[in-house]
């Protein structure tokens, strides 16, 4: 259905949502016109996902209204939203690993593959829907109660037929029977999108869909989104990448601190304007690191490293060789899932066969392949792990105990096996102040800190070691602009003090700004190496995509 002129497909009015003490949405107003791609942009924690989950019926707003095609809605679960043609691809995919792509797609729309059956009748008594509401054409129909549907049929065969038609139409082919966990992320995302199409959504919400894609895959995705738009679907596209907004959207809405702070036609705005709106002040988009002054001996050498995959077949890391010298930052670029995580695990746990199958690793000139993680860390290795909440912190423990993590054997805090709490207290207090961790309350549990402050706490702790080798993985993921700048400066400072730095990041801008050398990882191999000043974004993007 192509919309006529000024009709509004989706409208949020004064949406407010509070999580405990966090006001995630504070009176969000948003109008999306049908047949357009609407960009939603904002910093981490600005409230984009929350607003979208409210629109999708996952969260109930504390106050405010949702209007679909002008009709007010009260939704008690996503079921109601789905029935109104809303579909969402979540920031974290909603797919269950052991189930096939097909099963993941038909979940919630079982038995609908059989043509036409779902089109009968009209949604008369949708919960909270005012009587007389217009039936949305082409929407999946009010289904029998869940408990009745439960015993119906899955309709895999019909579903597959319909899906194959959809896949052909949008060139989104998928191995339907393969367990989802065996499909690459890019394909998993196709599955998510096919799910929306299969469920006949005509408002498509995509929450940061490009975070896991190569630049080429991103282009393919947007080609499809444009096609869908031209067919009359409404697309809401959440991101914090300015470039994508500029390239692919018709309109853009800027979120900050839980509210909408600006809205514009994409053609009438600029990246700088959007960035300033996002942050609320003038920002320098990229702090460039000056090139390294002096490099010394090798801090890290990796030779012919092989890590086998969990399911046998392919190697997660195959035959990787590189080195990092002290006083230089080596960046590893690549789309997530191309072996970076496995590479880091091998560096820390070289003894464990599932972490390293073959290859030699030496750190500060010492062969570490037979060392335990503790011995390796004691060589002066600091780690900012990629998943800070999981690997970097003990979220339920107070800051003070988190500060001790990994330092529990250091002479400063350990007296004959006993923890010296007064030293610990003093050192932790000092570090928290120096690194500006807020709130500076050592008794507070780390999980209660915001993402940026969690990261600063980790940085403070890891720098306490005076590293000879710093491994920083995604050091600014989910961190706001101010903290990003701070962490970048610290990394540069560590380098200038003589540490070798291995920087793993999927943010090209970060890699390009900080690295003295860049390695691109693609499918477990080093797909390219570039010295400072010798790379362009497009070249790196090409390598990242295997080109």
């Amino acid at each position: 259905m192509i919309s006529s002129g000024s009709e509004v497909a989706v409208e949020l009015r004064g949406i407010t949502k509070q999580f405990g003490s966090v006001l995630a949405n504070a009176g969000v107003d948003l109008r999306v016109e049908p047949g357009t791609i609407q960009g939603l942009i904002g910093e981490n924690g600005a409230g984009k996902s929350t607003a979208m989950k409210i629109l999708y019926g996952l969260y109930r707003p504390d106050s405010g209204h949702i209007l679909i095609r002008g009709q007010p809605q009260v939704w008690s679960s996503p079921r109601d939203a789905i029935a109104q043609g809303i579909g969402m691809v979540h920031q974290h995919f909603m797919l269950a690993g052991p189930y096939s792509a097909l099963d993941n797609i038909i979940l919630g729309a079982e038995g609908e593959g059989r043509g036409g059956r779902e089109r009968r009748g009209s949604r008369v008594e949708g919960r909270g829907q005012p009587s007389g509401a217009m039936r949305r054409e082409g929407a999946p129909d009010p289904r029998p109660p869940t408990l009745v549907r439960a015993w119906g049929i899955l309709g895999r065969k019909h579903a597959r037929e319909r899906l194959e038609a959809l896949a052909a139409q949008y060139r989104l082919s998928v191995d339907w029977e393969a367990p989802i966990e065996q499909l690459p992320v890019g394909i998993q995302q196709r599955v998510e999108i096919l799910k929306l199409l299969y469920h006949r959504a005509d408002v498509l919400i995509l929450d940061e869909p490009t975070a896991v894609l190569t630049p080429q895959e991103t282009n393919d995705l947007f080609a499809n989104l444009k096609k869908l738009r031209d067919e009359g679907k409404t697309i809401i596209f959440v991101t914090h990448k300015l470039k994508e907004v500029m390239a692919f959207t018709d309109r853009v809405t800027v979120f900050r601190g839980g509210s909408v702070v600006g809205e514009a036609l994409t053609s009438q705005t600029s990246p700088q304007e959007l960035a300033d709106l996002m942050v609320g002040r003038k920002v320098v988009l990229n702090v460039q690191a000056p090139p390294t002054q002096a490099t010394g001996k090798a801090a890290l050498e990796v030779e012919a490293l092989v890590v086998s995959g969990t399911r046998g077949a392919t190697h997660r890391v195959s035959n990787v060789t590189f080195s990092v010298r002290s006083g230089e930052i080596v960046g590893i670029a690549g789309v997530e899932g191309n072996g970076q995580s496995e590479l880091l695990q091998a560096l820390l746990h070289p003894r464990e066969p599932q972490c390293r199958k073959a290859g030699r690793i030496s750190i500060t000139g010492m062969d570490v392949t037979q060392m335990t993680a503790r011995e390796i860390r004691n060589l002066g290795v600091s780690l900012i792990p990629e998943d800070r909440l999981h690997e970097g912190l003990l979220p339920e423990w107070p800051l003070r105990d988190n500060f001790l993590l990994g330092l529990q054997h250091s002479a400063a805090f350990n007296r004959a096996g006993f923890i010296c709490s007064s030293n610990l207290q003093a050192a932790a207090a000092k570090a928290v102040n120096e690194y500006d961790v807020r709130p500076a309350n050592l008794a507070l549990s780390a999980g209660n800190l915001s993402g940026g402050n969690q990261q600063k706490l980790i940085v403070a702790r890891e720098f306490e070691r005076r590293p000879k080798l710093l491994i920083a993985a995604q050091p600014t993921r989910g961190v706001d602009v101010g903290a990003t700048e701070f962490i970048h400066r610290r990394i540069i400072k560590a380098r200038d003090e003589g540490a070798g730095v291995l920087l793993v990041s999927s943010e090209l801008e970060e890699i390009m700004a900080l690295s003295d050398r860049i390695l691109v990882m693609y499918e477990g191999r080093i797909a390219g190496e570039f010295a400072k000043g010798n790379f362009s974004e497009s070249l790196l993007g090409l390598r990242m995509g295997g080109g």
Binding site: L348, T372, R374, R377, P385, G392, L393, D401, L444, S445
Partner: protein
């Protein structure tokens, strides 16, 4: 203070449920409560019996708690304590000539060692083979009972008795009784249990090893990234847990029976789970919770005596209900020692 009040409420709620069951059975709940209290604390001997049952529960509660701190569930304390007691009794039976203080010392070490080994097995299987410790420890409980029964019946059989039990150990092995409790067999094992609770506290809270153990329980990936050997910590935690449960053997064999009796334990190991839960895995809480469950066990004996319709099983009903009440949110939050501090309050 609020946590204490919440635990108290949960216990009270569980008790109230249990009392309503006795009411359905035709008893006056208020009377039942009074009899319970009298049975547990009404006389010197009753207090003594309460403390007697408290002692093994402190050990098993600590056992469950140490494993839990490392993120493991030790459902195997029952098997570990059986083997601990068997080992103590075996030393006593095999080395009758030993004198004081070597005798009790050696026997205690044997109890500790046997429990440690029996705890380390599921720890090892979990850490190295990924077998879930809950099921493995449940299975090992059955195995331990089979083994200890065999030894008691055929290897170290007590010829003086038809009871399935081992030969009595020499007098030199017995640890002193605390005389103030009349005939109740409260022995030096009680102060030992308190001392062990203190040691466990210091270990968990004040040593680097204890810190590492707890860190593994909080988050294995984080601990591993920090260079902590999670595998070793898991095995260590289960070994310690087993050893602690094994110490029940000291209380039972050296402090009370003077021999190993098949099925001497009225499920101390399982009640230990409840003790740890209620004590929030902290030694001080565990001592208090052990006292509560000890009192409950002893008090229900008096109930059987003084009422018409209530039998000894009711103690299981009470215990089950109290555990259920305590396990429900919000109390579980503390079981996972998850301090929920609202940033607003800061």
């Amino acid at each position: 203070m609020r946590r204490l009040a919440q635990s108290f409420l949960a216990v009270a709620f569980g008790l109230a449920l249990g009392l309503s069951a006795t009411w359905i059975a035709g008893e006056n709940p208020w009377e039942v409560l009074k009899i319970l209290a009298r049975g547990a604390f009404g006389s010197r001997e009753n207090i003594g019996m309460t403390l007697f049952y408290t002692t093994p529960l402190i050990f098993t509660g600590l056992s469950v708690a140490v494993a839990f701190q490392a993120g493991l569930f030790n459902v195997g304390a029952e098997g570990q304590l059986n083997l601990g007691a068997l080992a103590a009794a075996a030393i006593g039976a095999l080395l009758p000539g030993l004198g004081w203080p070597m005798a009790p010392l050696l026997a205690s070490l044997a109890a500790l060692a046997a429990g440690t080994v029996w705890g380390a097995i599921p720890g090892w299987l979990r850490a190295r083979r990924g077998s879930h410790e809950v099921i493995v420890t449940i299975m090992l409980n059955f195995v331990a009972v089979g083994l200890s029964t065999y030894v008691a019946l055929y290897v170290l059989k007590n010829p003086e008795s038809q009871n399935p039990e081992t030969r009595p150990i020499g007098l030199a092995y017995m640890i002193p009784r605390l005389g103030v409790f009349g005939d109740a067999p409260v022995s030096a094992a009680l102060p030992l249990a308190l001392l062990v609770a203190a040691i466990v506290w210091v270990f968990l809270r004040r040593t680097a090893l204890g810190y590492e153990l707890r860190a593994v329980g909080q988050s294995e990936p984080a601990a591993r990234a920090a260079g902590i050997d999670a595998t070793k910590m898991r095995i260590l935690a289960m070994a310690i847990a087993g050893g602690l449960a094994g110490l029940v053997g000291v209380a039972e064999v050296l402090g009370n029976a003077g021999k190993f009796k098949v099925e001497f334990s009225p499920q101390y190991g399982f009640i230990g789970i409840a003790v740890a839960l209620l004590g929030r895995n902290e030694p001080i809480g565990i001592v208090a919770a052990a006292l509560l469950f000890g009192a409950l066990h002893q008090g229900t004996r008096e109930l059987d005596f003084s009422t018409e319709h209530i039998t000894s099983e009711v103690s299981l009903v009470f215990q089950g209900l109290i555990i259920l009440a305590v396990s429900a949110e919000p109390v579980t939050n503390w079981f996972r020692s998850k301090p929920r501090i609202n940033t607003d309050e800061l």
